[in-house]
């Protein structure tokens, strides 16, 4: 079994209102000077490694975990 981490983020050109809301909230707690807040998903999987792990996980991400129309993903194997 290999532990795999997948980060799914909205593409840069897609508006992220959740990130904007966080960005607007931070100064009220005294955290000044923060820009470019973006919120995404971090997915952790334990996967049987049959030799094509990276390919298999990228396929999962492409078909289900991310919507390629609006999101991009990165895969990291532990």
């Amino acid at each position: 079994m290999a532990r795999v981490h997948i980060d799914v983020m909205l593409k840069d050109e897609i508006l992220d209102p959740q990130g904007q809301a966080i960005e607007r909230a931070l100064p009220s707690l005294g955290f000044e000077g923060v820009r470019g807040v973006r919120v995404g998903k971090h997915v952790v999987l334990d996967v049987d490694d049959r030799g094509d792990l990276e390919e298999q996980v990228a396929d999962m991400a492409d078909k289900l975990l991310a919507n390629p129309v609006i999101e991009r993903f990165t895969v990291r194997v532990e």
């Binding site: 909205l10 897609i14 508006l15 209102p17 959740q18 809301a21 289900l64 975990l65 919507n67 129309v69 609006i70």
Partner: protein, 228 residues
Amino acid sequence: MRIGVVTFPGSCDDRDARYAVSLIGAEPVALWHGEADLQAVEAVLLPGGFSYGDYLRCGAIARFSPVLGALVDFAGRGGPVLGICNGFQVLCEAGLLPGALTRNAGLRFVHRRQHIRVEAASMWTAGVEAGAVFDIPVKHGEGRYVHPDPDELAAAGQVLARYCGPDGTVDATHNPNGSMAGIAGVTNAAGNVAGLMPHPEHAVDALLGSTDGRRILGAVLARARSAA
């Protein structure tokens, strides 16, 4: 004419959709998400709600249900399919419609009466003149339509409707969710598959304020009759 209405676990507008179908003079047929059988209906409605809890992304899981396999074949043969709200999200996730629906720009769930302007002719707007303004409710948290090139979509005649004011003006103040180019509904390239974020099935009874939804839902019947 028999119009199928699919029920997914978490659908909540399926009953209203069946009621609306009966009001426009068609026979509603309840279809179950777990059956890959469309029961020989002549058109299919995917209703609003929160299919499979909308886990991961709205509509992402529903896309793998048995009924969707049958629906993809039906749509491929030119069968009329309309997805409303969550149904629109499901059709985008399934790749039957272009683009995607994301979190409302204002982050809030929006629930209000909304004017929309019909832009293109489709099976679902047959007999409705382009530019006609309808009063139809919206209720959604993730209805912001996103497409890599909304102008290209409009040029291809695939923009079905836009959010607008009572006089048909499309601008930011009348856009409930920040949708690109105010897009409220789109069709596929062939025109037989359509998605709408607003709810025509909630605007079929004068008691509830508007009957404009009947014109959208009734158009497919008008088209079927003229083809017969």
